[in-house]
Symmetry: D2
Subunit: 350 residues, 4 copies
């Protein structure tokens, strides 16, 4: 095996990234080395690339980013028992401490001391990535590589949809980035009877239609709240999945949820949001949930089972496939909003 | 309006039934008179027809049986506000007392003092049926009459499937009578990833295949338990819906459910069932539920929403359509096992 | 029986109220006339008395206010079956429509068309009050009248505490009005291991101590958040019951709840509340609930059972007992904050 | 430190046990050596001592039994970070595999490949015991050693009581061995309003009274079912905790549970149990749960918090304290039924 590999490297505390030749990671006794087949790009990677305020506060260069991928096991540590060389795998990139209250009570996805591979340590935009055995997710070869490379954000969608009842419910999704788009498919597959997708961006609205949302609404073109109340007999939707993180979308979420409904919040926002607690929450008797990551490992079982059963058609979301050497061009495509999910191939698109 | 109507009447405490001309029911201030479009036949109706032990202990002739139907409102009482003449409706035929602990805590489907229309009072195998307003279920005209006439057993299926988690679960259904067959469609629509249908009768197995069960298994043709363990990686299914009420099926249910899984029991049996509590229940940490009727009225909202959204294809279950005057012939078809769900038209098949 | 009775009457759209001689209500066939033994005063009654903006928008004088009480059945309508003359009763004063989605799915406490006796129709500050049979709650004579007269706000407390897990949890209650004080007793009785009570008013803090809160904290005297984090090993409390409705208290609620914890909101506020959704809700993965009224009638069963079993000592909350003719004086005692729960006796304190 | 220690050893596949001088266990990098302060004896230990059929099929001598204890950390492996020498600890003795479906979805207590320390490997009836760091439970020194030594069975009780709703519920406990007795205290502390304890043995009934069960019933002295129906207004109890494992007790459990209630099964039985599924389960709409071990580690947090808050008085259950050298005498005391929980002190009773 070679000593070095190609990787996307954020070399210093500044915008940009480089393709470099770096050492292949060495693994410990309970770690696994994975040869990356396909990785995919998350909004977080764009923040790191552009070196915004969040990135400057969190990231310590040099760093190889990338936390969505699939690949095949290239080597295993001495004590690894659950996978072997050649296995097809992905991984949960949130490495939970395993020792805090949350970790010890089935809530590892909100671990107090989590480290994220690709954010806090070297990630998957490389030919090889090192993963603790505990976080490896072995995959059935029946699952297509393209889907296997996007399990992280698909898991966000599955976790959000399943954070409460969804069967036979009406659902509105505010914001149609990749996770919002995935959520359309997931909600439909799990028995939501009507899915409303709300999105300002035309490209994304077109993708929402391809994902078969029942109603795709443009807030700039009319009163979304009035429309949804009309289409739900005046009562509003049972469930809102907030995935935009924009104050207007959040305002809409509270306006369209029915009495006794739920709002699951995934979209991050740095702006303060103002609510009228009495009217918006208390009189309506609603439930609001903060959603983070995906459950370890219930969500992984769920999404793997759904994919293997062919319940999810996610193809419209995958808009671009690039060779890793073209990483910077992908960043541009994301910035202009033309691309949704971009797949990255370390050794050229196959 | 006429004074009399045709109806199926069980005239006395003996096998059989007659088509008779009887008075149209008079309604009170909080009651609704419904002109029956289509009714459907339940196994219970066969028990009443054959006058078995259960029937002899419960039924007080003369009685008009029938508790599955849809129709249009013909007249309403003075205090009725939620429907009007001409509305398309079905009804929950379990009339709960509204005053016991169960009724006052959201569990009216297991009311201590329930009366069933079509069992304890005159039912729907007639041109007209009288229903308390509280139990009327108004229907969207988009729902086909054929489906509207089978909401009672479809509700059993929806209630059973949704008695626990179903999304992304593997499910086995033991017994493929109409409710078992409906459950295949419901489980699939709500995100079950693999549905096993287990049934001895060849006619029913064929219907299970038409309902798109992933695996249809014949217990007389091989070891069903071994097959299911093999197909679930050795662990068993997440959920068993027991709808046969036969000791062998129940035995299979406990053998194929995984550790931590659930068994929802709907199928009635008069025979004692013997279990090894330690091995069958405790060490496996399973949950067992007795399922009765359908939730008032959560299940009605759920199934109506699913039907309106086109999520359920139930056509294969409807095997026969008869004119009410041929009621006795329908009983024969059910006895020989050739028919699954038989629709009854009071004024001839349309 | 007499034709007239004494009652507290809000005669016109202006501050104040009068004691007047008015007709005893006539009951319909499904209604119950109750002779009031004891009523109690809610903050809502003070709003009505003072004729604030909320009252001006909601109340239509003339009105007899009062929605917390107990008494004995004086007469029943023809169709009433569940109580008889002489029975000891209280009542749920939210009269739900029984026909909306919420009512038909076990969520009548958030009915879309609710009417409140004592707010929308004549209430219990009178010698007699008229109640629909459906809303009567029959009481075991073992329950003291004093407690029987405060079931409405006690129900708020029980509903809030039981809106999520409470057994073996740490709980903070922000705001120690009567419902907050009741919640201390309820949380303790249901297995909360540590109860923090947070309150600015010294009178109320003293009552919180009498209710046996483990820690009673004064936000004006030190950093409540720091103190609670210290006493919970840095992680924060499992549950916050927000009963102050004040922006500072709400801010504290979000600061002290642990990752994965819940905030149940009961305290009403007319001011907009500003939150940082990412930090306050999403990263912490918390659940927020709007709490309204009390569950019909689970909460009533629960609180009745707790009272009958002697699990709740509520005496410290009952600070005043007055004769109905002194109603206006009670309003003053509430305004100055000296009183917590004031009991009103229609025919003089007994 | 010494090289050898005293321990209870089952030397061969036959009844009995010996006190022997054996090597102190050597610990690996992720293990902890604990000096045992107090251990306690479980019914399982009696099975091992008596070498019954279960023991002969499961135990591989030589073995040091004992799986309930507390002690102080004597040494830690190189990679241990969560405890240090001198810490006061107990441990979860079920060592879950961490890799099966159940372990990865928060159900490690029903792990498919669990090993039990004291059953499958050397346990705590010794001066020292070796524990994986993952299973160590660090204790607040405020918790008395006596209670710290019985966390395993107390955890069974807490897990069973909290397997469903308990607040404001009526509860019956069938069988008053140590776990049944603990359950009385736990149910009361968590808000059960009435606790019925059912037990044939007079010694145990006296202990149940000391634990403050509301009603202690002797099945040999009258009709327990009739009595409980009478005391619950004819409806039966909300919850049954079955801890006897005897067919008569199980029969009673199904007779006394109310419609919609739950039965949580903990008591093991090797005899087949016969039920009438229709009458016993389905018409009543009950839920039955198999209960195993205790949740890792929710139950540990819960019981530790309850003990630290002084919510549980467990003293009546601890009937005997012995020096480890008198182990065989303790076995006799258990066999005659005079003792409930027996504490074992490796170096003499302190």
């Amino acid at each position: 095996m070679a000593e070095t590999m190609l990787a996307v490297v954020k070399p210093q505390a500044a915008p940009g990234a480089e393709i470099r030749d770096v050492s292949i990671p060495r693994i410990g006794p309970m770690e696994v080395l994975v040869k990356v087949d396909v990785a995919s790009i998350c909004g977080t990677d764009l923040h790191i690339y552009n070196w915004d305020r969040w990135a400057a506060g969190r990231i310590h260069p040099p760093l190889i980013p990338g936390h969505e991928f699939c690949g095949h096991v290239a080597a295993i540590g001495n004590e690894v028992t659950t996978v072997q060389e050649g296995d097809f795998v992905s991984a949960e990139m949130h490495v939970a401490c395993g020792k805090c209250l949350q970790c010890r009570t089935g809530e590892a996805h909100i671990c107090q001391f989590v480290k994220i591979i690709g954010v806090d340590t070297d990630g998957a935009f490389a030919e090889y990535v090192r993963i603790p055995e505990s976080n490896i997710w072995k995959l059935d070869p029946a699952i297509p590589k393209e889907y296997a490379s996007i399990l992280d954000p698909l898991g966000n969608a599955v976790h959000t949809v399943l954070a409460g009842e969804i069967a036979a419910k009406t659902v509105a999704i505010t914001g149609c980035g990749p996770i919002g788009l995935f959520s359309i498919a997931v909600a439909r597959a799990l028995g939501a009877t009507t899915v409303f997708a709300i999105e300002l961006n035309e490209h994304r609205r077109k993708l929402a239609e391809k994902m078969k949302a029942d109603h795709v609404l443009d807030p700039s073109a009319g009163d979304v709240t009035a429309k949804i109340l009309e289409l739900t007999g005046g009562s509003g939707v049972d469930v809102v999945l907030e995935m935009a993180g924009h104050p207007d979308a959040i305002r809409t979420a509270f306006d369209i949820v029915r009495r006794g409904g739920r709002i699951s919040l995934l979209g991050l926002t740095s702006k303060p949001i103002s609510l009228n607690f009495s009217e918006d929450i208390i009189f309506k008797g609603i439930t609001i949930q903060g959603i983070n990551g995906r459950r370890m490992y219930q969500t992984w079982y769920q999404m793997t089972a759904l994919l293997k059963a062919g319940k999810l058609d996610l193809h419209p979301v995958i808009t671009d496939r690039i060779s890793m050497k073209d990483f910077s061009k992908a960043m541009e495509r994301l910035t202009t909003g033309e691309a949704s999910k971009i797949l990255v191939y370390p050794n050229g698109v196959k």
